[in-house]
């Protein structure tokens, strides 16, 4: 079965081939061809992920490292000990990510075929989507930090391209879209800066960037590591260990040094203890994660990123790319486990992001923005889980969240699609065959008043118009809200249990903080989701467009139904121990024990009846509260939110609606001063001083004077004449030599003979000298 590991490069190559085909032949093969190629490529990649999964199970979860065939090492500087091979890693963690990325990715590809139908740049969209898969899979399969970084930057690029996909929408919309794309890219650069620094420090500390070397198994726990340690320890005194052992990957090396203790890292100016070094590295990684995974303080790009087409929001900005930060931290669990300080910061960041984003989500009108803040909030759950050491729970929540958040985004896309349909139905009444009119956003809209198909105030009563979308949406909502037995319940519950356990068992403050914040955030989650469901699906249609909304076609509904199924049963893969009945059917902690083979610090949390009951009741209560506040009467005229109308909650709602003025805060403290500084530098320093004065006056005029001197008297007078003379000389010489070439064989033969004579004379010169005794 290990031979199947060799398939892993294909998982990157197949989407790459799909991308190239669509890039070069997309226009020729038509929409249908593009769709077959793109969906086929992602499905094949999924097939390979499944094969790798089976191979993992069959080989007893042995991690495997596979070289990229035909490619030599990417970077190899032997003198610096730097070697970055193109190595793919097959272990339970990477296979989990591969399954999620390709599985959910394939469904979203399929959905996008329907959603993007008729778009002028249909092939390009799928080129980008496949390219995204390529980079995302490089990110999760790489066996070293630098390969992960390649994927990390690559998905950033794809995210940029896809957020700004409709950069040419009329009426200023296009500008907004490309602004959003740039914002995402620039904000992410801040995070990448941290990641790069973290990687540099890692390399400095360990002399390598490989997670594990080929054939190296993760050192599971401390006592096993101690059993290994004597191999290195007894013969050598302690200072011997200051030099990194070459053949170990970073994580095992870190584990060894941690177990030994007392290791120090020399950074030239300062020498830090190994633990401090790890704290700095992990905090820098955290900065990277706050960018990619949209955490405080860098989360501001994600809500704006909703400017991209909805399948993009589902795939990149909910299910896969934004979880890269969580994956990276789980991958580095050995580092995080070692640093209490860093873990504390991670917990705080994650938990406060969860609650802040959950709060903001309550005040949003845009259907996708609500989901975007919800995503930020859920990512906060995962990051907090990493902080409290619940790596398995973080991954678990990552997987289930991929199911139900992709479902919700696709559902919202279906709603938007239906709304646009209804709107077109009204505006293009005279167009007979309106189905062939490009149905949505990208179509050039010749209209006077703006109609926003994403504003929930324009919706209402869609339950009857779009029953398929409605029911799947309910599934996703219940899963996200954490209602038993939906997937979200199990994963969220595990995070909460782990947080509480950290507080109770180890008496750690961050455990209590995380628990309190996350529980509150969970209540917010249920509330804003049911608010959304009420506004979109319940009550009566509030606009003509909503009245004429139509259900989407099967190509969009099928992925919704599959994802709804997964949202229902997805949680059963990790039933906590002690749960009656289900635990016996599906096995207990299946997912955790699967992950334990690659995530050494993964551990299972138990099940707390009281906590689960409280959490479910809280969520149910929030749902009921939402239903009561957003009752049918309130929904009828929805210019103001009921919370806004109530003066006790009006202030809070306004704050949520304004996103806590977070963007404004950044604008006034960072962007605006930066712009002023840039303007000053440009106008005063660069233009007035550097250009006008230094360049034009000082350098320019003196240079002119010097060249004048050089060119006229010196160059023309002396050098030119010398070279003209030389050229004439060579030319004359050549012309004269050429006359030997008479064309007569006898001359030539004579030439050969003379030549031979010449050679003989030269050759025998020493002989002559000998003979003459000179």
């Amino acid at each position: 079965m290990e031979n199947f590991f060799d398939l892993v490069p294909l998982i990157v190559l197949i989407p790459l081939i799909g991308m190239l085909v669509n890039l070069f032949a997309g226009r020729q093969i038509g929409e249908r061809g593009v769709a077959i190629v793109a969906v086929g490529a992602s499905s094949l990649a999924f097939l390979i992920a499944v094969i790798l999964w089976i191979a993992q199970v069959q080989t007893g979860y042995e991690p495997g490292v596979v070289d990229m065939p035909l490619l030599a090492d990417w970077i190899s500087v032997p003198s610096a000990g730097l070697r970055i091979p193109w190595e793919f890693r097959v272990d339970t963690l990477s296979v989990t990510m591969m399954l999620v990325v390709t599985g959910v990715g394939s469904l979203i590809h399929l959905y996008a075929v329907g959603y993007m139908h008729g778009d002028a740049r249909f092939p390009r969209f799928f080129v980008y989507l496949n390219l995204f898969l390529v980079f995302m899979l490089i990110l999760v399969t790489g066996n070293n930090f630098l390969m992960m970084f390649v994927g990390w930057e690559g998905v950033g690029l794809c995210s940029f391209l896809l957020i700004g996909f409709w950069f040419d929408k009329p009426g200023g919309e296009g500008w907004k879209n490309s602004d959003a794309a740039r914002k995402a890219f620039i904000v992410n650069r801040v995070g990448d800066f941290g990641l790069i620094l973290g990687m540099l420090m890692t390399f400095w500390t360990f002399g390598t960037l490989d997670y594990y070397k080929p054939g190296e198994a993760p050192l599971a726990a401390h006592h096993e590591a101690e059993a290994e340690a004597p191999v290195f320890a007894p013969q050598f005194p302690q200072e011997e260990h200051a030099e990194p052992e070459g053949p170990l990957g970073v994580f095992n090396q870190a584990q060894l040094w941690l177990d030994e203790g007392g290791h120090e890292v020399d950074f030239g100016l300062v020498t830090l203890s190994f633990e401090t070094t790890l704290t700095i590295i992990t905090l820098l990684f955290l900065l990277g994660a706050t960018g990619k995974s949209a955490q405080i303080p860098l989360f501001v790009w994600l809500p704006d990123a909703m400017a991209g087409p909805t399948p993009v929001s589902a795939l990149i900005h909910a299910a896969t790319m934004v979880t890269a930060g969580v994956y990276m931290m789980v991958r580095s669990n050995v580092f995080y486990e070692a640093s209490t300080t860093a873990s504390f910061v991670v917990t705080l960041i994650g938990a406060s992001t969860a609650i802040v984003a959950g709060f903001i989500a309550v005040g949003q009108w845009d259907i996708k923005r609500v989901l975007a803040y919800s995503t930020v909030s859920q990512l906060g759950f995962m990051v907090a889980a990493v902080g409290v050491g619940a790596y398995a729970a973080a991954m678990f929540h990552l997987v289930t969240h991929a199911f139900f958040k992709a479902l919700l985004f696709l559902g919202s896309g279906s709603v938007i699609h239906g709304m646009e349909h209804g709107h077109h139905h009204l505006t293009d009444h005279d167009v007979e065959d309106h189905k062939h009119v490009p149905p949505h956003e990208h179509a050039p809209q010749v209209e006077t008043e703006r109609f926003d198909p994403q504003d929930m105030r324009n919706m209402g009563g869609l339950r009857h118009k779009m029953p398929g979308t409605y029911w799947t949406y309910i599934f996703g909502t219940l899963a996200l809200a954490g209602i038993i037995p939906f997937a979200g319940f199990w994963s969220k519950d595990e995070i909460l249990v782990d947080a509480l356990r950290l507080g109770l068992d180890e008496n750690r403050l961050d455990g209590y903080i995380a628990f309190a914040l996350l529980l509150t955030a969970a209540a917010f989650t249920a509330f804003y989701m049911w608010r959304q469901v009420s506004m979109v699906f319940y009550g009566q249609p509030r606009t003509p467009a909503a009245e004429h909304a139509e259900e989407s076609g099967p190509v969009m509904l099928v992925p919704l139904i599959v994802l709804a199924g997964l949202s229902l049963i997805g949680g059963f893969m990790n039933i906590p121990s002690g749960f009656p009945l289900l635990g016996r059917i599906f096995g207990e902690h299946q997912f955790t024990s699967w992950l334990e083979h690659s995530v050494v610090n993964a551990h299972a949390a138990g099940f707390l009846w009281l906590l689960a009951t409280v959490a479910v009741l809280l969520a149910a209560g929030a749902i009921i509260a939402a239903r009561v506040i957003y009752n049918d009467r309130a929904l009828r005229q929805l210019t103001d939110d009921p919370l806004e109308a109530n003066e006790r909650t009006a202030g809070a709602f306004a704050l949520a609606n304004a996103k806590l003025y977070w963007d404004e805060f950044y604008f006034s403290t960072i962007v605006y001063p930066y712009q002023r500084a840039a303007r000053w530098l440009a106008d005063r320093l660069d233009w007035a001083f550097w250009h006008d004065f230094v360049h034009d006056r000082v350098i320019g005029s003196s240079f002119q004077w010097a060249t004048e001197m050089l060119s006229n008297p010196i160059d023309r007078g002396i050098i030119d004449r010398a070279f003209d003379g030389l050229a004439r000389l060579v030319h004359n010489l050549a012309a004269r030599v050429r006359t030997i070439q008479t064309g007569y064989v006898r001359t030539y033969a004579l030439g050969v003979a003379f030549g031979a004579l010449l050679i003989l004379v030269i050759a025998l010169l020493p002989v002559l000298r000998d003979l003459l005794g000179l």
């Binding site: 050969v752 031979a756 050759a763």
Partner: protein
């Protein structure tokens, strides 16, 4: 008592590539009789297949994928199938393949469509391959004749054209004249050492070292005569005078092939005889082989004269003829460097790398001449390329690449060849020669770049006809020129294990 050796001791398998080609040549000659004139491209196809198969066979051992026979020596040491001969084979077979590619259309155009063309071309190739593997002076001589005689015929292939016949006649007479020098030289060496086997010659010279015998004079004279004979083949000054006349008169497709193939053969022979057979021929008190001074002077003369006379040429073929003379000079530098003990292998590598680069560059340049000369073979004035940049941008681009490579501009194969040659020259203490090389390269830029100037900056009709196979040949040449220029390690890796030394260099 003379013993008849057992056939199994001949190690025939070691000669597999050249044998395959030799046999296919004979078969091709027969098969061709049954192919009607209007379908001669079939002969070309068969010839190409034979060359392709041989090329594959020859390249496999170069990358250590297979090993034919039992050790490098075959036929009692008269045939040496080592890395050196493998690389020579690869170079000449690529040339021959390109030569076959450009031929059918050219021959058809000039109404020369006769099947012997391909058999003769293949025979020459066989000759060069034998030369590369020569382990005996007799083999050197026979290979030289085998590679020369078909070339004489090919030069006069355009029967009825006075220029072509004159060219063949001149080539033949002068070739015969110089061959006699070679035979005389071989005889003298035999007289001095009592053997014609190169390894035995090497051992004898080793034994003679330091002794004051008159054998030294014989050896000296013999070596010089061999240098004359083979120097004629590679067009070294002062045995170069046939070159422009023959190049101008012979069919261009022949010139394209022979300008490269004859050079490969000649230098393979020179390296075998001088660097493998006589590197230890040192006169007392000297540090370098006795023949080094002679080669030194030849190299300097060849570079200087070839490049300077090329400047005043107004005909493309004559210009390239002098250019090919000049390039012989650069390879002679490597040969001279091989005269210092310990540098023989490096020199052989440098020469081979230079030749490999030269294969693509020079062949490509002549292929472009074929494209622009139209139906009139005398129509090869420099003016033919005027305005080519506008009318045939790709062709002009390829020609630019070849010209830059001939000058030796970085990122082209020509630069890599010069780099290795100059490097080994400096390492072997021949810095003055390397300096002459650099200066003459500088001079050569004048006439090469003039071609580029004419193509891009002067108005003209810029006519060219490019049938598909010719376009392919030009494309492959340009690609090879650039590929080896950008990825030089492809070449140096190939040549890494080349060694001529019989006993520790």
């Amino acid at each position: 008592m003379f013993e008849v050796p057992n056939l199994a001791d001949y190690n025939i398998m070691a000669t597999l590539p050249v044998m395959v080609l030799a046999l296919s040549t004979c078969i091709l000659l027969l098969v061709d009789l049954f192919i009607p004139t209007e379908r001669k491209h079939l002969t070309a196809l068969l010839a190409a297949i034979a060359l392709g198969v041989t090329l594959v066979l020859a390249v496999l051992p170069l990358f250590d994928l297979v090993e034919y026979g039992d050790g490098p020596l075959a036929f009692e040491g008269t045939f040496v199938a080592d890395e050196f001969s493998n690389m020579v084979n690869a170079a000449v077979l690529i040339t021959a393949l390109l030569g076959v590619m450009v031929a059918p259309n050219y021959l058809e155009r000039s109404a020369l469509q006769r099947g012997e063309y391909y058999s003769l071309l293949l025979l020459t190739t066989v000759g060069v391959m034998f030369m590369g593997a020569a382990g005996d002076l007799v083999v050197v001589f026979i290979s030289l004749e085998l590679l020369s005689i078909p070339l004489y015929i090919l030069s006069g292939f355009r029967r009825g054209s006075a220029a072509s016949e004159e060219s063949a006649m001149k080539y033949f007479l002068l070739g015969a004249f110089s061959s006699s020098f070679l035979v005389y030289g071989i005889a003298l060496i035999y007289g001095a050492t009592g053997t014609t086997n190169l390894q035995a010659i090497w051992q004898t010279i080793d034994a003679l070292a330091g002794q004051e015998t008159s054998a030294r004079y014989l050896l000296m004279a013999g070596g010089s005569m061999v240098l004359v004979g083979l120097g004629f083949k590679v067009a070294a000054v002062p045995f170069h005078m046939w070159t422009p006349d023959v190049y101008q008169g012979a069919p261009t497709s022949v010139v394209a092939y022979m300008s490269v193939a004859a050079k490969i053969g000649g230098f393979a022979g020179l390296l075998r005889v001088l660097v493998a057979g006589m590197p230890n021929f040192v006169l007392d008190g000297a540090e370098v082989a006795a023949w080094q001074d002679t080669v030194w002077i030849l190299a300097a003369l060849t570079m200087i004269l070839g490049n300077i006379i090329a400047i005043v040429q107004s005909d493309l073929k004559r210009l390239l003829a002098y250019s090919s003379i000049a390039h012989a000079g650069y390879i002679l530098i490597a040969l001279a460097a091989g005269g210092r003990a310990g540098y023989g292998d490096d020199a052989a590598r440098a020469a081979l790398i230079y030749l490999m680069a030269y294969v693509f560059t020079n062949f490509g340049a002549f292929a472009v001449v074929i494209a622009v000369e139209g139906n009139d073979p005398t129509h090869t004035g420099l003016g033919r390329v005027r305005g080519l940049g506008k009318t045939h941008p790709m062709l002009a681009l390829a020609m630019t690449v070849f010209m830059l490579s001939l000058v030796g501009i970085p990122l082209t194969a020509g630069f890599i060849g010069k780099w290795f040659v100059f490097q080994v020259a400096v390492a072997a203490g021949l810095t003055p020669l390397a300096i002459i090389g650099v200066i003459t390269s500088l001079i050569s830029a004048f006439y090469y770049l003039r071609v580029v100037w004419l193509m891009y900056f002067e108005e003209g009709e810029g006519e060219a006809s490019m049938p598909r196979t010719l376009a392919w040949a030009i494309g492959i040449s340009a690609l090879g020129t650039l590929l080896f220029g950008v990825l030089p390690y492809l070449l140096s890796d190939m040549a890494r294990e080349v060694s001529l030394a019989f006993g520790g260099g």
